[in-house]
């Protein structure tokens, strides 16, 4: 019964963004971005500072409304989806969270619980997700007294509390969720998140600056520059020497010989794309409406 109902849904993308253009304070931040993501995909948003990664995440999170274009989540337009319903389908971790007043780590995490349970630190999910993120021992500490990496993991636990209270296909948006973690924590958490996305009907979209991490755990990479999508596809087709040089000005290549693919950097110069008006046609693995990765 359930499989019959779910099967046709699985063929449709969970998230569909069509020709999104966003202008804020007279500046064009996003231009004609289209994107289709299915549950189970791990999309890494890459691009230099100011490329529009966080902006795109904000639009996908329904925080900012685009001037033109439309975003649909599970078939419903974000513009018409009420906020509480949206909060039961997607969770967001912003780049930075500062508290207005001193709160305990477990109080922060418990805010992720839905409805009337919100703020209940004794809820079992709070402890479970804190352990998942390796911060269970920090539950009784004040959030502001934690290190940057610890704060980041506490925020991730809050987001996971929200995510794991959901049923059905869901969307997880992360903005540099692992930037302050040590390398071991980064790889461990990313591996956990990748398997979570595959096993729990979750589409993961994450903005990231670590090229090797993105290559290792992304099933698909969306390369942004100047608010435009430059390339979209699996890591080996997007992270080419040519693309890395054009977008980042990076002399680097993707090395897939080891157990985990990694990006080897030989040096850096000025990016080509940023100094020139953007090319009319996207490069290889272009931003098509259909995703070309499994």
């Amino acid at each position: 019964m359930t499989t019959r109902l779910v099967a046709p849904l699985l063929e449709k993308p969970l998230l569909e963004a069509r020709e999104i253009t966003l202008v804020r304070n007279g500046q064009q931040l996003l231009r004609n971005i289209s994107l289709r993501v299915r549950a189970g995909e791990r999309v890494m948003l890459l691009g230099p500072n100011g490329a529009g990664k966080s902006t795109l995440l904000r639009v996908l999170a329904s925080e900012w409304r685009p001037q033109s274009g439309e975003v649909r989540l599970g078939g419903d337009s974000l513009a018409t989806l009420p906020l509480p319903a949206l909060a039961r389908r997607r969770a967001v971790m912003p780049q930075q969270v500062t508290l207005g007043f001193p709160m305990l780590a477990e109080e922060v995490v418990a805010q992720g619980l839905p409805g009337r349970e919100a703020g209940d630190s004794s809820h079992p999910s709070v402890g479970t997700q804190m352990a998942w993120c390796d911060v269970a021992h920090l539950a009784g500490r004040l959030y502001n007294s934690l290190s940057g990496g610890e704060q980041q993991r506490v925020q991730l636990a809050r987001v996971l509390v929200q995510l794991r209270a959901m049923s059905g296909e869901r969307l997880l948006l992360l903005d540099e969720a692992t930037s302050a973690l040590d390398p071991a924590q980064q790889y461990r958490l990313m591996a956990q998140l990748a398997s979570l996305a595959q096993q729990e009907e979750t589409a993961l979209i994450m903005a990231c600056h670590d090229l090797s991490l993105a290559a290792a755990y992304g099933s698909r990479i969306l390369l942004l520059a100047n608010g435009e999508c430059v390339a979209d596809g699996p890591p080996e087709t997007v992270l080419t020497e040519e693309n890395l040089a054009r977008v980042y000005g990076l002399d680097a290549c993707l090395d897939t010989r080891g157990p985990l693919p990694q990006v080897c950097v030989r040096g850096a110069s000025n990016p080509v794309v940023l100094s020139k008006p953007l090319c009319a046609k996207p490069l290889r693995g272009q931003c098509s409406l259909g995703s070309d990765s499994a």
């Binding site: 999170a61 329904s62 925080e63 906020l83 509480p84 319903a85 949206l86 909060a87 039961r88 969770a91 967001v92 912003p94 969270v97 500062t98 508290l99 207005g100 007043f101 001193p102 709160m103 305990l104 109080e107 922060v108 805010q111 992720g112 839905p114 009337r116 919100a118 703020g119 009784g140 500490r141 004040l142 502001n144 809050r158 929200q162």
Partner: protein, 342 residues
């Protein structure tokens, strides 16, 4: 910043605050020019055959004043807690950011100019004119402060406090002009307003403001969860499914209602909204489900005690309660600033 070890379980603290309020109320009903025993107070309140003078003192003088002190204290403390939660800063007090003085200017305007204005239509000043004007002025100032202190979804507390200074200055200048125009009788009323006092409390005042303040007190628990989410930032609150814009509008209207009502019967009483929520946060933490009711209770206790003290310390004269709160709250505010500067 705040020692967590000092946090207490919320339910017992609420009960203790309730008990403190009952004790304070008893004290307020017993003390005064005519001291009464607990039994006499009881008789004055409930017995049909009580002595007429006791009945008069308890039922017509002390009881309305006590209830008004409770309501005004709760209204100011809750407004402070709501604004502080919204602006994510403990310095947002309705007095400091100018809402109270905006309301007071409106009220004083009605006192001084009301008769002249309404005489044009050949009417006496209606009883609702003063509280309504105070409310609309409170709403207007809150809206202005909101626009100045909030840009792109982030609260700018420095701007907020500067706006408060400016609005307080404008309101005081307005009050100065009205003082200049006022006659002797109006001057006395005016002075009561600017220094804050509950001396003229009666049942009519109570009937006028109680519904509005009770409405705010009953509605406030509905905002607690959204305010908790806003502690993590407006964006996070939105991600968690809360309509932050609607929350803002509701808080602005509720604060204007509560402060407008409080100011229209008691004049300018500052710092309750600063002191009460801060003390509650130190003992209970920042969860608004407890913070809001506990602030309401503590605000009521503070004002009942301050009003009782105001009646006693210079008896048979009365010390203005607004001055009293400023004497307590001013140093408290300074201490708070110094803590944050460190």
């Amino acid at each position: 910043m705040v020692p967590v070890a000092g946090r207490l379980p919320p339910r017992p603290v609420l009960v203790a605050l309730g008990g403190l309020l009952v004790l304070g109320a008893m004290l307020a009903l017993r003390t005064g020019p005519m001291p009464l025993s607990a039994g006499e107070v009881w008789q004055g309140l409930f017995a049909r055959d009580a002595e007429a003078s006791v009945q008069l003192v308890v039922r017509e003088l002390r009881l309305p004043r006590l209830l008004l002190a409770m309501l005004v204290g709760a209204a100011l403390a809750v407004s402070g807690a709501l604004l502080q939660g919204l602006f994510r800063n403990p310095l947002a007090d309705p007095g400091l950011i100018g809402i109270s003085s905006g309301a007071a200017l409106g009220g004083i305007g009605v006192i001084v100019l009301g008769e002249r204005v309404f005489a044009q239509w050949g009417m006496a000043v209606p009883g609702l004119a003063l509280p309504l004007t105070a409310f609309f002025c409170a709403l207007l100032t809150t809206a202005v402060i909101w626009r100045i202190g909030n840009r792109h979804g982030e609260a700018h507390v420095a701007m907020l406090l500067l706006a408060g200074i400016a609005i307080n200055a404008i309101a005081m200048a307005g009050v100065g002009v009205l003082t200049f125009m006022a006659d002797d009788g109006q001057l006395r009323t005016l002075t009561f307003w600017t220094m804050g006092s509950l001396a003229q409390a009666d049942w009519r005042d109570l009937r006028l403001v109680a519904p509005w303040i009770l409405l705010v007190l009953l509605a406030m628990p509905m905002l607690a969860r959204a305010l908790n989410a806003v502690l993590l930032g407006e964006a996070v609150a939105l991600h968690l499914g809360h309509d932050v814009d609607r929350l803002k509008r509701r808080i602005v209207v509720m604060c204007a209602l509560a402060v407008g009502a409080a100011v229209s019967v008691s004049g300018l009483i500052g710092f309750v909204g600063l002191v009460a929520p801060h003390l509650v946060r130190l003992t209970l933490g920042v969860d608004h489900r407890w913070l809001l009711p506990a602030s309401a209770l503590l605000g009521a206790v503070l004002l009942v005690l301050a009003d009782t003290a105001a009646r006693l310390i210079v008896a048979p004269a009365e010390f203005p309660i607004g001055l009293m709160m400023a004497l307590i709250g001013g140093p408290f505010f300074l201490a708070l600033l110094m803590r944050r500067a460190r």
